[in-house]
Amino acid sequence: MNKGHDRTKPASIVVSHLVWTGYLLAALALPALLFWSLLAPNPWTWIVPQRATILIDDQAYRLNGKQWRVALENSLNALTGQEQAVLAELDTEIDNTLNLMFKLPRSQVSEAADWYYSGLGQVARHWAGLRGMGNGDGYESLADNLGSRLFPEEEWSGLKNSMLNALLSKGADAGRHSLDHMNIILHKELDAYRIDGDPSGADFHLSSDWTADSGLVEIALGDTLPAHTGVAVSASALSTLAARRGVQVAASRAAGRGMTLKGMTACAHAGPLASLCSIGIFTGTFVITELAILHLDESRNRDDFEAALHADLDRIEQQFRITIKDELIGGLQARFNAERGLLDEHLSPVSRMFPD
């Protein structure tokens, strides 16, 4: 029996030694771990990510780096979406505004055609034709005349200025509110990490006064829009129309001249009143011929003329559209880009607080 007891004794000693050694190793490891956690910088970050307190608009939030980056990315994405929506809305607004603006000149096309095919218009056309024979610029003044009828000065200026100002202020508002919107989105994203109580002594203070630093992009539309709407109606179209009319009425003029010659021949038997008769016949046939030509011209070419005016108005409207969109939407986009830079400047110190 003693032998059995002797055989188990070494085993129990070994076990007790092992237990003791285990305790010793734990007793060495624990203070080492405690020393490390006290002496190493930020030792808790491998268990619990380092958190910091930031203040936005006197509201304190306590969060770690990952939470901050996710909140910031979501806010910036939402801001981008909002900016794109604003630009799309402005684009539509510009189209609608221009449609409304150009209702005025389109409504004046008929009136302009009435003048063009009136006696005064005929005189102006002849004068333009005569001037054009010398230096080719004769139709500029005719185009000016038509332009002033399509775009009546006072009415057009008032309408243009009021509508463009409305667009400008809309663009400026959109630009001004985008940073405010970013502020709201950021607060919403950070709401889960909000802490109450006195926020003083927070690790980082983030000023929300971003708008004070951002400058409004100056969008000056007046100087860049086609101001000379008078010459917008293209002089070349008018000279083309005149040339075509010239061909059309050549035969009528020839017939008229024939009538004049016959009349003047008949006056040869009038004796001393022959010259007066001839002048009268010449003047009468001239006026009648020209009136006939005017009516003929109007009946044949008025539709084409009005179509040419509409085409010109479309072209002018397109010029306006391109210029306004370039200036306003381009300017707003530039402002949004500048604000991103400002946001980065304000928010990057917070991101740098958290190690990657």
Binding site: W20, L24, P31, W44, R51, R62, G197, G201
Partner: protein, 277 residues
């Protein structure tokens, strides 16, 4: 080799040291995260801290009552058993334990310098050895039921005095915040503003201690020239001592509780303490 080491370091000592270091790790973690705890969590932590404190306090109170009973009452008297300490003593010591638990948590939330924690970690073997020494000494001179409680009381007192002296010296040599020429209210506001606690209860406690700091700094820098020097010095030192003692006292009790549990005295002696007829 292991046998040689085992003659000097027993398994109980290792186990007790491990438990004390684990306690320090838990307290260090509490110190780190206390600022982020909401009110409900703070209440829960205070209750958890109060449990071991209440056990030690109740045990010590009962032993004191036993000493009184043995000294003043006859064994065959019915009162010898009746006044051993029951529900009221339990409730009284629980209230005291809750208060000490709160003080401990407030002290931890102040985030003492890491030198304090390094000192505590290094003093664990010293704690064990000094406890063994005192236990051996009192075993020769003190009656059986009382030698454990007396060992721990005296040990705690001596250890506490050493810890207090260290903290006192550390505080004296800390850089002084300039509060001269500032109104008392402004100084208190400046000190309390530095703390940022999520829990209002914990914040109130931390603010109170910060206010004590502000008061001693303000007294020292503004009234030193006008009031008698020794008196004012004494008042300032007393304020430092009180502030540090409010942390050391519950900390030592917690150490004793864990020591008693780890050393196996809990089930053998403490549970049955004072119940003899």
């Amino acid at each position: 080799m292991i046998s040689l080491l085992r003659t000097h370091i027993s398994v109980e000592d290792l186990r007790t040291a491990i438990c004390l270091w684990i306690l320090l790790g838990i307290l260090l973690a509490l110190s780190r995260f206390a600022a982020a705890l909401p009110d409900i969590w703070v209440a829960g932590v205070v209750i958890l801290l109060a449990v071991p404190l209440q056990s030690v306090l109740f045990w010590r109170r009962r032993m004191r009552r036993l000493a009184f009973r043995r000294a003043c009452l006859k064994r065959n008297s019915p009162y010898f058993f009746r006044i051993r300490g029951g529900l009221w003593m339990f409730l009284g010591q629980s209230a005291l334990a809750l208060m000490l638990g709160s003080l401990l948590l407030v002290g931890l939330a102040r985030q003492e310098h890491r030198v304090f924690w390094l000192l505590l970690v290094m003093l664990v073997p010293v704690w064990l050895k000094s406890n063994h020494f005192l236990a051996g000494y009192f075993q020769k001179h003190v009656n059986e039921p009382f030698h454990l409680v007396l060992t721990h009381r005296v040990h705690g007192l001596l250890f506490g005095l050493c810890l207090l002296a260290s903290l006192f010296a550390w505080t004296i040599f800390q850089p002084v915040i300039n509060a001269s020429g500032v109104a008392f209210e402004a100084a208190v506001l400046a000190f309390t503003r530095e703390t940022a606690m999520r829990s209002t209860m914990l914040g109130a406690g931390v603010d109170l201690l910060a206010g004590m700091d502000a008061a001693r700094h303000w007294l020292g820098q503004n009234l030193m020239e006008t009031l008698p020097g020794p008196g004012l010095h004494g008042l300032i030192w007393l304020m430092i001592l009180i502030k540090e003692w409010l942390l050391v006292w519950p900390l030592l009790l917690m150490f004793q509780a864990v020591h008693l549990l780890a050393a196996g005295h809990w089930s053998s002696q403490i549970n049955r303490s004072g119940d003899e007829r």
